[in-house]
Each structure stands twice: as C-alpha cells, then as structure tokens.
C-alpha cells in the first residue's frame, strides 16, 4: 500500500476528481455524478487522496464535503523545481549562443 502523492495523481480519474474539487468542496455522490463509475469507486479514490493528504473532508450532517488541500500540491512543484532549474539553464545557454551570434553579426 504505497500512499504517496505521485502514486495518487497517477490515476486519471483521481486527477479529474482533484480538478473538480479544486474550486469548491463536493460530496462523493456529487463527484460521482461526473463520472460513469459507482459512488463506491469514487469513495475509494477519495480515501487514497485523503490518506496522502491531498484532500480534506468536512462533515456536514450526513454529508461529507471533500475539497483540495492545495498546500500538498506544492510538493509536486517542489519536486519539479530541480528540473525547472535544468530547463531554465538550457534556455539561458541557448540565449547566450543567440546573443553571441548577434554580436558576431555586427
């Protein structure tokens, strides 16, 4: 039972759930209406998302509202950072080449 954020976002249904509840909290039934799977299947996805803290719940009577824990998304951003450095660096190197070519032209 791996339960890390990368494994959580690997499933396309889970990414769609994340997108759905990013702007407003929703109940499992309301979420399930947007897919053609059962409420239980969505519930399982929500459990995985909750376990890795990508999603938080708030009980309201007999309904449970799920919403995105946006802070957790920053972890992916943090992981990407090392690679962003690489592609920015490559861009700068390309930029250098271009300016060098420019000055040679003059």
């Amino acid at each position: 039972m791996r339960r890390d954020i990368f494994q959580a976002i690997a499933d396309p249904t889970r990414r769609a759930i994340i997108a759905l509840i990013a702007l407003q909290a929703m109940t499992p039934n309301a979420i399930a209406e947007n897919f053609n799977t059962s409420r239980q299947a969505i519930s399982k996805h929500l459990r995985i998302l909750t376990e890795c803290e990508l999603v938080k719940q708030e009980q309201q009577g007999r309904e449970i509202y799920y919403s995105l824990e946006i802070e957790k998304m920053k972890e992916i951003d943090k992981w990407l950072e090392q690679y962003r450095k690489i592609w920015k660096n490559q861009f700068n190197q390309l930029d250098e080449v271009l300016t060098k070519l420019k000055t040679q032209k003059k």
Copy 2:
C-alpha cells in the same frame, strides 16, 4: 498499458532513474549499479520512460546511453499551472487581509 507521464513518475525507482540521468546520459548497466535490482528490471523501467518520451536513447557501439528529455517534464509543470494559480490567489487574498489590518492599525 497506460503510458502517460503521470503513470511514469508514479514509481519511485523511475523517479530515481530520472534524477540520475538528468545531468548525464547513462547506460542501463551503469544505472542498475545504483539500485539493488537487476539490469532487466531497470531496462523495463527505461522502456516505459522511453515510450512516454521522458527519456531518449543514443546508441554508441554496443552501449545505449539514456538521458532525460527535459522538454517532456514541462508537461507536468503545465498541469500544475492551474493549481499554482489557486495557491497564488490564496496568497494574494491573505496579503490583502494583512495590508487591510496594517492600514486599520494606522
């Protein structure tokens, strides 16, 4: 056989491979030395990474050098962008509250 980038980075070994070859191209054997699994297992991971174009190969004699296709990493960045907007927005809202408190103090 799903073969998208999110599924590719879901596996921790594959993320480690990506980190390894990000800065320099490496052969499967050289990569495998950094893990305690077989060369074949690494080869399978490399195949998955290659199939979703996260990694490119370059044959050199009987050796094949694998390196990161950094451009593909931007796809994750692109996906994150929508959520980055949300957390930046939340930060701005917090900022507004703070400046409001400040002016009220004065």
